[in-house]
């Protein structure tokens, strides 16, 4: 009877762990695809683009983030290659002048202030230190949105990409022997 009880308890443990590790992520994350099948690799290799060619700083030092359609249309007013992805992009967005609704993997809570220019220009951080290999990927990964919090799964570090959580920020500052306080980010 004692063995039987242990087996039943262990079955409960295993069932919960299975559900928690395998089932829970499927339930809590909703998967979306990006509006455009975009290849960073093609732009970096064939067009020779650098990160800040498209993800630029404005004159006032603020970070422009994802480029707007104007920036894309500067090169892709007409097709430059023969890929289906480019053809679709031009037909669906450039020609009708419709802004793609990009899903931003790195979107942070509204109560967080992050200065790109401080980290890039003063801290000399490389883009991939926070964004991983995004800049060399051939396809954009699916955007997995937490159904409860509304944030991307990538914030927590996912599929080999580094985490962009408060703990990660603090750990990096500690490792670099930089001072940090609450008001640095939570202004």
């Amino acid at each position: 009877v004692k063995l039987r009880g242990t087996i039943v308890f262990a079955a409960g443990v295993l069932a919960a762990m299975g559900a928690g590790w395998a089932g829970f992520p499927r339930v809590v994350y909703q998967t979306y695809t990006q509006p455009v099948d975009f290849s960073h690799q093609v732009h970096a290799d064939k067009a020779g683009s650098k990160c800040d060619d498209c993800h630029a700083f404005r004159a006032d030092g603020s970070f422009a983030g994802v480029p707007t359609l104007d920036k894309c249309a500067g090169c892709h007013a007409a097709a430059m290659g023969s890929t289906v992805a480019e053809k679709n992009f031009i037909e669906r967005f450039v020609t009708p002048g419709r802004e793609p609704q990009w899903l931003v993997y790195a979107r942070q809570p509204e109560n967080v202030y992050f200065s790109h220019i401080t980290h890039v220009k003063r801290g000399n951080l490389k883009c991939q230190q926070c964004h991983g290999g995004q800049g060399t990927s051939n396809t954009l990964p699916p955007y997995q949105q937490d159904r409860i919090s509304g944030y991307s799964r990538d914030i927590w570090g996912h599929a080999g990409r580094p985490a962009m959580t408060m703990d990660a920020c603090v750990a990096c500052h500690r490792q670099s022997h930089l001072e940090h306080s609450c008001l640095d980010c939570h202004k």
Binding site: V8, G12, A19, G20, V28, R58, A64, P109, S149
Partner: protein, 576 residues
């Protein structure tokens, strides 16, 4: 035990559940749920979110008072997030003015249709001169619209002053201020501070105000003796050195005349040019005190950008006894909306498109406009359009017409705030001038080209008809009121820091008493009390302050207090 004997008991279910709970602790699920719930709670509806977008700067003029300070607005996208001064600072009210559209006490809805019907019906029925507009920020383009409308309707255009004066501090060597808040919102801060090193300031008043603290000399007067002191000025040893006397005492215009200040430091307040057709068809500017009692049957009050307040009992005295109709254009319910039949909401700065009235310390004509930084909400009324429609004036862009009239002079210069560059007006086309005004500029007519009106144009007003007021009894009302400088009707809630923490200003609903008077009235700091005068009474909160002289009560400037208590009024404060 065979398999057939292994039936699931209730005990097994509990064991399985216990195992599941224990196992769940080793999965990310519970910890993820805790974090997610916390993050979800950050995005509940109603939690403010900072604006995102490109950071740009827009330039305009502050419309909170006639100083009309140049403003640089930092905008994220289209949303202004901070205001700063250009060529000089802004006052705390101006610095926080971008909060005003979201002020919780702001009036956003009103019975517009009912008021329109009532006013149109009333204006048609009433006798000539029975309709009037009271403009509490005269000197603007909209003021001329009111004057033209009243001329058309044979009504009255009322303003706090019929002959406002302008003072040239830069030409003064010694200034005697009798209670005027010269360094605390009296004029254009940048101009006053620029002129300050060149004149000696003697401040005479009962309390050591902020101006008194910064003056070269503070003469402490006994409360209520301002007029007596003003009468004694010619016999003062330094009278011959005075260039200018400022204050509210009725004797001051005559003293300035004796000093020869008119034409040197005192001028008629100049206005920017207006189209000729306007000045030919405009009602005269009439002071409220000059209107016969019980003669106004329809009164429209523009308090949307008021820079002064007239106690209600003085207005009420001018209204007909039976069924007067009062409509106020207001931004809050705190002013005349308490008495009017209809209170119609208006846009607030920085939603308004309006020009700025001439400043008290500017002796040369200027023209500058406040452009909207955020759109006004639906449902607000434009008072100029309302009054124009009432008079049947053709719809027009009167600000553009006035800008064209200014441009027609081809005189003066245009100062661009963005690059601090001055351009002669004659070098601009009318369209370019209008565009520059909307982008943040001011037109100034330089001193060499303007001829300010001199003494003949600014004689003090003659005796005015006024009803006798009941005598005040020192026995019943033992305190003399000292009033704080005027405060706009709407100020940012952040300004409570000034009121409550720093003690820099008396909150509008507060009175300050000397500890001796507070003890006599059995009042403690923060107590609720009633301020009583011969006019009436209102509820106030008490601040006990040893800086207030015994026998005086320093009063805030809420409309409720101003309705019952003017400067130097006798008053009493009793426990509520």
């Amino acid at each position: 035990m065979s398999l057939s004997q292994m039936t699931n008991s209730r005990r097994d279910i509990f064991k399985f559940a216990g195992g599941a709970v224990a196992g769940a602790l080793f999965t990310p699920a519970p910890w993820r749920l805790i974090t997610d719930t916390a993050l979800w709670s950050e995005n509940w509806p109603g939690i403010p979110r900072p604006a995102r977008g490109e950071i740009r700067f827009k330039f305009t003029n502050c419309a909170l008072c006639p100083a009309g300070c140049a403003v640089r607005a930092r905008c994220v996208g289209e949303q202004p997030v901070s205001l700063a001064g250009v060529r000089g600072g802004l006052c705390p009210f101006g610095l926080s003015a971008h909060h005003l559209p979201y002020h919780p006490a702001r009036l956003k809805q009103g019975p517009i249709l009912e008021a329109t019907a009532a006013v149109f019906q009333g204006a048609g029925k009433r006798a000539p001169n029975g309709i009037a507009v009271l403009d509490l920020n005269p000197g603007r383009t909209v003021s001329w619209t009111y004057r033209r409308a009243m001329a058309s309707l044979k009504g009255l255009y009322l303003a706090p002053e019929s002959q406002p004066l302008a003072y040239d501090l830069s030409a003064a060597k010694t200034v005697l201020s009798i209670g005027a808040p010269l360094l605390d919102g009296w004029g254009t801060p940048a101009n006053v501070l620029a002129a300050r090193p060149n004149f000696r300031l003697i401040q005479a008043e009962a309390v050591e105000s902020r101006t008194a603290m910064l003056a070269d000399q503070w003469i402490q007067l006994a409360p209520g003796t301002e007029s007596a002191f003003a009468q004694s000025i010619p016999s003062l040893p330094y009278a011959k050195d005075l260039s200018l006397v400022l204050g509210d005492a009725p004797e001051i215009p005559e003293i300035n005349r004796q000093l020869g200040a008119y034409g040197k430091t005192v001028f008629a307040r100049p206005e920017a040019p207006v189209p000729e057709a306007w000045s030919k068809n405009a009602a005269a500017v009439t002071e409220l005190a000059g209107v016969p009692d019980h003669s106004i049957s329809v009164l429209l009050i523009d308090e949307s950008s008021a820079v002064s307040y007239i106690p209600w009992h003085r207005i009420q005295r001018k209204l007909v006894r039976e069924n007067p109709l009062v409509v106020t254009f207001a931004t809050t319910r705190g002013g005349y909306a308490r008495y009017a039949q209809y209170a119609l909401p208006t846009a607030v700065y920085p939603e308004v498109l309006d020009d700025i009235a001439p400043a008290v310390d500017c002796i040369h004509p200027t023209f500058r406009i406040a452009v909207p930084l955020v759109p006004p909400p639906a449902g607000v009324v434009n008072p100029a359009d309302f009054v124009s429609a009432l008079a049947g004036l053709p719809a027009s862009n009167s600000l553009r017409e006035r800008a064209d009239a200014v441009h027609h002079t081809t005189q003066g210069t245009v100062l661009t705030y963005a690059d601090n560059k001055e351009t002669p007006l004659k070098d601009l086309t009318a369209d370019a001038f209008w565009k520059s005004l909307n982008d943040g500029t001011r037109w100034d007519r330089p001193p060499g080209l303007s001829i300010p009106s001199t003494v003949s144009a600014c004689q003090p007003a003659a005796g005015r008809p006024s009803s006798p007021e009941p005598p005040e009894s020192p026995a019943d009302l033992p305190l003399i009121a000292i009033r704080e400088p005027y405060t706009p009707a709407l100020v940012s809630p952040l300004m409570t820091k000034l009121y409550q923490e720093s003690g820099l200003r008396l909150a509008p609903n507060r009175v300050a008493l000397n500890p001796r008077d507070a003890r006599a009235a059995n009042l403690s700091n923060g107590a609720r009390a009633t301020l009583q005068t011969r006019i009436g009474k209102c509820s106030v909160e008490v601040t006990v302050d040893p800086a207030v002289p015994p026998g005086a009560v320093q009063v805030g400037c809420s409309p409720g207090i101003q309705d019952v208590c003017g400067p130097s009024s006798r008053a009493k404060v009793v426990s509520a």
